[in-house]
């Protein structure tokens, strides 16, 4: 069954998949928050959370669903890309970037533990976590792999000491930004980062109801998350390494 699914998924057209009957897939967006009031995201964001300091300790707090939870626009753009491509995505917003937690790198780990506990199937990480958190992050990504939760992570735009964490780990699907056709993939033959797709000049929703243009690996990543969401909506039994097999076959033009 699985090999049939891989063959079919490799050959499927994304627009036809999106228009077909798909099972809903839970997608976590660990980012700067999401403006769930934006028309492009209305009804698509099913839960909203924030990671904030609570008596000297970071913790995940639930928020009212359907609010503007994004002061930067980064997470709204990411969620907008996922929502546009994958109609079956049920988006869960976990805000880790704001002034209150001072961008504490452990905020992302707290959020990660939360989405693991919630058993959310797809996790979009368009953020790179500092190398000081490598070990705990590695363990969390391994846990996600073992639970068949799929992490899609962005390479750093400007890698200095690392390519981006968790993108470097083999337990995640790692994404770079290349100038390729929209919705097409490139397999990167060398290095730790596996796939690239278009992340340049993408028109995306902005907090407050408008639109802006974004460029960077952060915005290539949700395209692949959305692709995986479509595959999992049609073939829910697919595992992470099978998704990588499909993505690689598509990158090599076996469509």
């Amino acid at each position: 069954m699985s090999s049939v699914a891989i063959t079919e998924a490799t050959a499927a057209r994304f627009d036809e998949l999106a228009a077909s009957d798909l099972a809903p897939v839970e997608v976590a967006v660990i980012d700067s928050g999401i403006d769930a009031t934006h028309p492009d995201l209305a009804g698509r964001v099913v839960s909203q959370w924030t990671v904030e300091d609570e008596e000297g300790r970071l913790a995940v707090h639930p928020l009212e669903t359907g609010i503007n939870n994004d002061t930067f626009g980064h997470g709204t753009a990411v969620a907008g890309i996922i929502a546009r491509i994958a109609p079956n995505a049920r988006i869960h917003d976990i805000r880790v970037l704001d002034a209150r937690n001072k961008g504490d790198p452990t905020a992302s780990l707290v959020a990660f533990r939360h989405v693991l506990a919630q058993r959310l199937r797809l996790i979009n990480m368009s953020l790179a976590i500092p190398a000081s958190q490598r070990e705990p992050l590695f363990k969390l990504c391994e846990s996600a792999y073992q639970r068949n939760q799929v992490v899609v992570a962005a390479k750093r735009n400007v890698p200095v000491t690392d390519e981006g964490l968790p993108a470097e780990f083999s337990s995640v699907i790692s994404i770079d930004n290349h100038q390729v056709e929209p919705m097409s993939l490139h397999f990167i033959e060398q290095g730790l980062i596996e796939f690239a797709t278009l992340g340049n000049d993408l028109t995306v929703p902005a907090p407050g109801g408008g639109y802006t243009v974004k460029t960077g690996t952060s915005f290539a990543t949700p395209t692949v998350t959305a692709m995986c969401c479509l595959f999992l909506g049609r073939w829910p039994m697919l595992r992470q390494f099978e998704l990588k097999t499909i993505l690689k076959a598509r990158a090599h033009g076996h469509v």
Binding site: F72, H74, K102, S132, V158, G210, T212, G216
Partner: protein, 214 residues
């Protein structure tokens, strides 16, 4: 070019008219030219206030110097929090307006913000701005600006480590200078510490004296 020497000293730990200040300025000027930005600036991270502060601008209004930028909003704040280069464009009401990029004259059409980071520690952010409607920054521009901010961060980090090694006095180093040069340097450093507002006048006097001496 505009800057405030006391801010440079307080937030970036570099004394005025030193090589470090010159290198930072050159890096910013070169970064702007490389990505064809109209103007650029250096913002330093103020740890106590947890926000960013303009300390140097090139081609930008000098009124920016000293202004605070909250870390919880905007592209510069996002670059500071994510430690990642961020490329931004204005927000439009509709997708069509966005794709046509009909900008407002005088308003930024594109912004780039590259963090200066040492290890996990934020030092500040380099920014660049364009004003031509529809003229956005590319991924290559982002990488270039990121490279300049990396070098700036490395230079500031090395300088800070050297200061710590030399006792953390903040004195301008006089290594390699003769006794007369060291006296002049020490006097300038003393003014920079106690009355940074007098430095422009002092620089003027030095230039006049140098003209006479030469």
């Amino acid at each position: 070019m505009a800057m405030d020497r006391s801010f440079l000293s307080r937030y970036l730990g570099i004394a005025p008219s030193t090589r470090e200040e010159g290198v930072l300025r050159l890096l910013l000027e070169t970064a702007i030219r490389t990505v064809d930005a109209a103007e650029g600036s250096v913002l330093a991270y103020d740890r106590d206030a947890n926000d960013l502060r303009f300390v140097m601008t090139v081609n930008g209004p000098s009124s920016l110097i000293g202004q605070r930028v909250p870390i919880g909003a905007g592209l510069t704040g996002l670059a500071a929090l994510t430690h990642e280069v961020q490329i931004g464009a204005p927000t439009f009401k509709t997708v069509d307006d966005c794709n046509q990029a009909t900008g407002v004259e005088g308003e930024p059409s594109a912004v780039i913000a590259a963090p200066m980071v040492s290890g996990d520690t934020l030092i500040g952010v380099l920014t660049g701005v364009r004003f031509k409607p529809g003229y956005r920054f590319t991924t290559d521009d982002g990488r270039a600006y990121g490279n300049f901010s990396t070098i700036a961060a490395l230079m500031l980090d090395q300088h800070s480590r050297l200061r710590e090694l030399s006792g953390g006095t903040g004195d301008v180093t006089t290594a390699g200078f003769g006794p007369e040069e060291a006296r002049i340097m020490a006097a300038v450093a003393s003014v920079a510490r106690s009355r940074p507002d007098r430095l422009p006048r002092l620089a003027q006097l030095f230039e006049q004296m140098a003209d006479i001496a030469i």
